[in-house]
């Protein structure tokens, strides 16, 4: 059978392979090469070694955006997951209307980042205007604004994953704990939470990578105002490419650093999940 299928390789594989080369492999390799070059267009690329990377690490805006992003990722991770878990717990109880509530909490997740950003810009600026200030005046307004925005967007999503996890816990385990005399709080911490570890690792991973990769919402809500202080890494890289002539190489070097950070988080996550899987 394999031989028969093999003859059809061009039809089955080539369209995807060709598009994959154009859309991913070629830009990726070119990107790594260009991070070692100085250029404005690819034709005038000149090899310069590690100088782009050195410039990237010497750029105070980039370093600031790194810490700002790391803090943002951690805070959003905690806020999103705590609320999502509580919602999932509440909405798996016997109660009227749980399905409607799930529908409502999930909905913002489907709205695009740019649109979300402008929806919240109106509201947050409306509130801040009462105190005679605005989003563009202080980077911490932007920071908490973004936290509110991504929480609104992603709590419903994580809630769905947690609900799936909660429903997969076999009822007899909870019942056994109940018979053994465990109170609701003990049941939550000693039975439910340990059983939920796979869902928790998935959600933690998703929210931390989402936090690091966030771009559209940042661009639309604050656009880095005031003076680049509310820039997350992705936006900083974008602005280096398209805002500073002659810095394209540095932008590409920053992009490679960014890629390594995101992959690093991915690897760490994989290890953590593997460790948990052994225990089960």
């Amino acid at each position: 059978m394999e031989k028969a299928i093999k003859k059809y390789m061009p039809i089955f594989v080539f369209p995807t392979l060709a598009a994959f080369i154009i859309g991913f492999i070629l830009p990726f390799i070119l990107g790594i090469w260009l991070s070692f070059c100085e250029f404005t267009t690819v034709t005038d690329a000149k090899f310069v070694g590690f100088s782009n990377y050195i410039k990237a690490f010497q750029d105070p805006d980039f370093l600031h955006s790194f810490w700002f992003t790391a803090l943002f990722a951690i805070v959003s991770l905690v806020v999103i997951n705590v609320f999502a878990f509580l919602l999932a717990l509440a909405l798996t109880q016997k109660m009227r209307g749980t399905n409607i509530f799930r529908t409502i909490f999930f909905m913002p997740n489907l709205i695009g980042g740019i649109v979300l950003g402008y929806i919240w810009q109106l509201i947050i600026n409306g509130v801040l205007a009462k105190y005679n200030t605005a989003l563009a005046l202080n980077e911490w307004y932007g920071f908490w604004g973004l936290i509110i925005l991504v929480s609104w967007q992603q709590i419903g999503y994580m809630m769905i994953i947690y609900i799936a996890g909660l429903q997969a816990i076999p009822g007899d385990i909870i019942e056994a704990a109940q018979i053994d005399g465990a109170n609701p709080i003990q049941r939550l911490f000693k039975v439910t939470l340990p059983m939920m570890m796979p869902s928790i690792t998935i959600c933690v991973f998703l929210s931390i990578t989402n936090g690091f990769k966030l771009f559209d919402q940042n661009l639309s809500l604050t656009a880095g105002e005031p003076s680049k202080l509310s820039e997350l890494m992705a936006l900083n890289i974008y602005n280096t490419f398209y805002g500073r002539v002659g810095w394209e190489g540095v932008g590409q070097a920053k992009a490679v650093i960014f890629f390594i950070i995101v992959v690093g988080i991915g690897m760490w996550q994989l290890k953590a999940t593997r460790a948990k899987e052994v225990q089960q």
Binding site: M1, A4, Y8, I11, F12, V13, T16, A19, F20, I22, G23, F24, L26, F28, G31, L34, T41, V42, L91, Q93, M95, R96, F101, R102, I104, F106, M107, P108, L110, I111, G112, G113, I114, V115, Y118, I119, L122, N125, G126, A129, I160, A164, I202, L206, F212, K213, F215, L219, S220, M233, A234, Y238, F241, G251, V256, F258, F259, V262, V263, G266
Partner: protein
């Protein structure tokens, strides 16, 4: 027993209030979309009065001055086109690389897994150069880019499902004289329907809302998607027409809500499936 019932009612009431707060941002934007643009920034939380009410004129200016309907058209075209192409090509590719064991197959699988982790910023500059060189900067060309960039997740999810299909069914079909193509389209395709729906929904959500990829790849003087128009309305310096923006935000949200309410079950299933795989 009685206490449990009252508790459940209290829960329902609390969550009704929470739910209303949750959708309040959209309602506020909706209310503002009917106000004269001058008043939107001044008093965003007030209901429109006789003085501030402008009816549908904000919607008219979003459509007439900013070409919002063209953007909707292009967004629909790009999303539907890309999703159909992705579903067809990647499912075929996934079936091939799971059934034919070779170095090429495992390399392809590994590359797809890697591509899911790569942030878009890593390739955005070079991708837009490549797209420009190959003249893929049209809504037709961008479909190829989406196939390439979205292939990772799709191939990965299809492979996961193909592995669970018993080989005997396909073998029987091929012994009976089916070519691999016919086996794929008459036997494997229908079995994979649930995965087609999950992948289709994940890719639709991504492509419909995507901003940066079309913004960098498309020739935006000619073709704009919804996200690009919204960003363009706000980001272009000079006069910012808040009224038209509010109307555009509402018109951008409505199709999404309709889509969500009409295939909610599939969406939630698809999201859960994608999250576990990713």
């Amino acid at each position: 027993m009685k206490m449990k019932r009252t508790l459940s009612w209290v829960g329902t009431i609390v969550f009704t209030i929470l739910g209303l707060i949750y959708i309040a941002p959209i309602i506020i934007v909706l209310i503002n979309s009917f106000k004269n643009k001058v008043y939107i920034n001044l008093e965003p939380f007030k209901l429109p009065s006789a003085e501030t009410w402008t009816g549908l004129s904000n919607y008219a200016s979003a459509i007439n001055q900013y070409g919002f309907l063209d953007a909707v058209g292009w967004t629909v075209f790009i999303t539907v086109g890309s999703v159909l192409v992705i579903l067809l090509c990647t499912s075929m590719c996934a079936w091939y690389i799971t059934r034919v064991k070779s170095t090429f197959s495992s390399a392809m699988y590994a590359l797809c897994a890697v591509s899911m982790v790569v942030p878009f910023q890593m390739v955005m500059f070079t991708l837009s150069l490549v797209a420009d060189r190959l003249r893929l900067n049209t809504p037709w060309g961008i479909i190829i880019i989406y196939l390439g960039f979205g292939a990772g997740l799709a191939v990965f999810m299809f492979c996961g499902f193909v592995k669970s299909i018993p080989l005997e069914i396909e073998e029987a079909a091929m012994i009976d004289g089916c070519t691999p193509l016919r086996t794929f389209f008459t036997i494997v395709g229908p079995i994979m329907k649930p995965t087609y729906i999950s992948v289709g929904i994940l890719e639709t959500m991504w492509i419909w809302n995507d901003f940066l990829l079309p913004y960098l790849v498309l020739d935006i003087n000619k073709y704009k998607t919804i996200s690009i128009v919204v960003q363009y309305m706000k980001g272009s310096y000079g006069r910012v027409d808040m009224g038209a923006i509010m109307a555009a935000l509402i018109m951008a949200v409505i199709p999404v809500i309709i889509f969500y309410l009409s295939c909610q079950k599939h969406i939630i299933k698809g999201v859960a499936a994608g999250a576990v795989k990713g």
